[in-house]
Every structure is written in C-alpha cells, then in structure tokens.
C-alpha cells in the first residue's frame, strides 16, 4: 500500500484516504474557441504516461479533501515529494539526487 504525505495536513497517511486525479500541470486552454482539433486532442487525451518520475495530482478525499501534487516514480511506486496545488513544478534533478542520498544512507 502506498503511504502518501498530504502537504496540507502535514501527515503521511495510507493510500485508502486518497484519490488519484491524473497527470499534474496540464494547463486549461485560455482561448478554447481558437484551438485546432490537434490541440484539443493533446489537451484532452494525450498524457505523458512516464515510466519513471511522474508529476501527478492526488486528492485527500477522506481528510482535508484538497487537491495537491506529487512526484512518484511509476516503476517503484515511491513518492519523491508532494507539494501544494499552485506551487511550481519542483526541480526533478535535485529531487532524484536527494532520493539517491536517502537511499544510500539506509
């Protein structure tokens, strides 16, 4: 079972309390009527489906009920970090080196 840290509640809690909400940082179109069919396809349907560190949204449904973002490695299912909605995308390189260090400390 995944253990997920809610950045609002500041607690690490079991997966059962959370709902996955898809890829993060997908920006809604500003001028929908100007968009081509291809741009709509990319916005609605194309996902990065990364094998590795994945930026994604979760919702703490059975807690504070707020949406937040996370970086999770989709191969190991390990969370690299979670952060509040609206905060910028964290730097992946420093996250990975931090994860590597904590791994070697064990």
């Amino acid at each position: 079972m995944l253990l997920i840290r809610c950045p609002y509640c500041e607690e690490t809690l079991p997966e059962m309390e959370f709902t996955y909400a898809g890829e993060a940082h997908i920006v809604r179109p500003e001028n929908p009527s100007d968009m081509s069919d291809e741009a709509w396809r990319d916005f609605l349907f194309i996902r990065s489906n990364v094998k590795g560190p994945h930026f994604e949204r979760w919702r703490h449904s059975h807690g504070c009920a707020r949406f937040f973002n996370a970086v999770r490695d989709t191969v190991s299912d390990r969370f690299l970090t979670t952060y509040k909605a609206g905060e910028p995308r964290p730097d992946l390189a420093s996250l990975l080196s931090a994860a590597g260090q904590s791994e070697s400390e064990k």
Partner: protein
C-alpha cells in the same frame, strides 16, 4: 516439429516422453526482416502466425524484452466474451470469438477454449434495465446474449445465493453462452509454435530500445539490445509499454498504463461451472481446470509500471467475491499478481495504421485484451500485409481522438473498468 495427435502422444508415451522435439527455436536476430513485431504476447505472436499463414509473409521477427507470453498474456483471468454494446466493438470481439472456436484445430495446439458461459449478475432495478437493453442491442448485432431470471441463474450456477436476504440480492442475469475461458499460456505457445514452424523468428530477452525512422519519416527498423535490425514494417504490440516504445518514433499516444491485479485460491474440486461477473459489487470469478478460483476486478487507481499494484484493491476484490459467494470466505488465496494494462480515454483499442509510414500499432485493450487475442492478431496481420485497414479494425484508428469519433465503451461498458 512434431504434429500433435493421439498417435504422436502414444508414440512418445512408449519412449517415456523423452524424445519430444522442441516446440520452437530461440532465434538470434538476422540483419533484416520484412516485418518486425514488438512484443511476443498472444497478440504479437498471433499476428506473426496469421501473417505467415494467410498472407505468405514469413520473413518476420517477433521481439520481446522478456520471455514470450510473460506479460499480460500470462497475467490475465482468461475470460473470453463478446457482449460489447457498440456495433464496432461487437463486430471485433465477435470476430475473435469465431476464431476462438477453431483455434485449437487451427494451431494443432490445445488452447483449452471452454464455452462454459459468462453470466453477469443484476443486483438493482437499474442493472436489470440496462442489461436487458444491452441484450437487445447484442442480439440486433447477432451477438449471443440472453436474460435469465434469478431462478434460471441459480440453475445455471448452483453456488449462487439468490435469497432476497442476501447483502446484494440477485435480480436476474445476462448470460452469454458462447463465452468462456481458455488456457492463456497455451494461446501464446500455440501461436509461437505455429509461427515458428512457418519460419518466423522469435527473439526473446531482447529489449527494443527505439524505433528508427529515415529522412523521409518512414520506419527503417528497430534499435535493440542485440543491435539494429532493419525492417520497412514495424508493428508495436507491447501492451502497457506501448507509449514508451511509440514515443521513440516520435508519436505521443492517448494511453495511460495501470496495474490490473488478479489472484487465485488454493485448488479445490470442481464447484464453479461458469464465469460470473458482477459490475455493481465489482468482481469476477471462475474456476480453472486445475481447480483454483481465479478472481479479479478493476485496475488500481494510479498509473504504474510496477506489475504489482496495491493491497487495498485485492481487499476490495475479495470482499466483493465473499459478499456474493459467502461459501468462499474461508478459502485460502495462493498468489496474486499484476499486469500493466494500457487504457485509452474511450476504453476502446487502437488497432491498425499510424501517421508514420510502415508503423502499425495494436494497443489500448485496457483490462480486456486476452479475449480478443485472435481477432486483433488476425485483423492486424491483414493491415500489415495490405497496408490498409481491415473492415473490422477500420473504426479503431488513432485519429479518432482528433476527429472525435470515439467508440465510447467506457460509458457503455459491460463491466466497470
């Protein structure tokens, strides 16, 4: 290669079964092929079989990063059915069912296709109404499906509890009698043996690293762990890893990869005669020929490549099964596993040509790819050979996500995904 028959069985029995010849060779790659298929599951090996048998194209390699049939072909719950709602899906899945019926004879390999019937339980008035509508739609499409009262359902599947006092009372069921199960490993092995017999190379433990395209954009071949292999036609049939492979050719796919888990119990004597699915309580169950109860439900909630999945989903699945069949609540579970399934936004497959010349794809089967193995393989082989869509796979294009002509089985689904 030995032709399997009662005679060959008897002959080998007399020599203590020590002289059986190998069923297919483990090939090393040649420098060039006419067609390369990425992914040696049932779908990929099946496409190689039909390319060789029906289109005379035998200079074919099927390449896999692991061993053949080691992905989702070996990780599903072996259920076969065709009671899909939309016309496009009904044609495709029923085509697969037609091929299943003669597959053992076609391959000279016993795939143990068992038409034991798939029964879907209705627990609410809404279930009853939507199932009956579904049955009418199926019958208009020539797809076998019929309504059973709860007493008829009990007669068909005696372990069923139809008491109105049950936690989830059974109000009736939809039964597809042509549906059933097959031995999943044997499907991969049968297609592999038949393809290899006709000259197809099966290359295992050789990851495809990238699809190489030439200056004109057309496919030139694949980069693999064993070097570059040239081919003008490449078909990707890599299930959960399809988007990873396709991205190397510069194509971003409308796919997300989720773990789909299943589990089996300890083997017991025959007790369960058919396949039972319940959408409302959300699980499905059948009994394998070895006696294990084979149990599954939906995917985990998050995308992953871990082939593992989380325990909460197993708990949910087992809870659903024991609600419907309390008699199984003290069975011990033997093992569980996960496969990585590639899910499209409309829950229908993508099968056929791509915008890249010489590149074909067979993906997006989500949680239900095993049942369609021969149908997908058969129409994909046609498309590769003729470089044009087969009438049955024609609606399952990649560009429906641009045009909006979706085949929305997600909304119409016979099961929850």
């Amino acid at each position: 290669m030995t032709h399997f028959s009662a005679w060959s069985l008897l002959k080998n029995a007399l020599s203590g079964h020590k002289n059986w010849s190998e069923q297919w060779p483990d090939s090393e790659p040649k420098a060039e092929y006419d067609v390369i298929i990425v992914g040696a599951g049932g779908h990929g090996l099946g496409a190689a079989h039909y390319l060789a048998k029906e289109h005379g194209i035998t200079n074919v390699a099927v390449i896999d990063k692991g061993w053949l049939g080691g992905g989702n072909t070996g990780r599903n719950t072996t259920i076969i059915r065709s009671n899909y709602l939309y016309d496009e899906s009904a044609r495709l899945y029923d085509h697969a069912l037609d091929l299943w019926e003669d597959l053992s004879q076609e391959l000279n390999y016993n795939v143990m296709y068992s038409r034991r019937g798939v029964m879907m339980l209705a627990h609410t008035v809404h279930d009853v109404q939507s199932f009956q509508r579904h049955i009418h739609a199926n019958r208009l499409n020539g797809v076998d499906n019929k309504w059973l009262t709860k007493e008829e359902a009990k007669e068909f599947c005696p372990p069923l509890n139809i008491s109105p006092e049950a936690r989830y009372p059974v109000m009736g069921a939809a039964l597809q009698m042509r549906a059933g199960t097959a031995r999943h490993d044997a499907v991969a092995w049968g297609f592999a043996r038949s393809a290899a017999k006709r000259g197809v190379d099966i290359i295992q433990n050789c990851p495809v690293l990238a699809i190489r395209r030439g200056p004109d954009g057309a496919v030139e071949g694949v980069e693999t762990a064993k070097g570059f292999i040239r081919a003008k036609k490449v078909a990707v049939s890599a299930a959960g890893h399809t988007s990873v492979v396709m991205e190397t050719a510069g194509l971003r796919m409308p796919l997300e990869s989720y773990p789909l888990q299943a589990l089996v119990s300890e083997p017991v004597k025959p007790i369960f005669p058919c396949v039972v699915m319940s959408n409302s309580v959300h699980a499905y169950i059948s009994q394998s020929d070895k006696g294990e109860l084979v149990i599954g439900s939906g995917t985990d909630q998050y995308t992953s490549y871990s082939q593992r999945g989380g325990l909460p989903l197993i708990e949910h699945t087992v809870a659903a099964i024991t609600e419907i069949f309390p008699i199984f609540n003290r069975m011990r579970m033997l093992r569980k596993w996960g496969g990585i399934v590639d899910v499209t936004p409309d829950r229908s497959a993508i099968l056929g040509k791509t915008p890249v010349k010489g590149l074909y794809v067979n993906c997006g089967w989500g949680t239900g790819g095993f049942k369609v193995t021969p149908g997908a393989a058969h129409t994909l082989a046609w498309t590769i050979a003729k470089d044009e869509p087969h009438p049955i796979n024609a609606p399952f294009t990649l560009d429906r996500f641009t045009t909006g002509r979706l085949i929305d089985e997600a909304a119409a689904a016979a099961v929850a995904h």
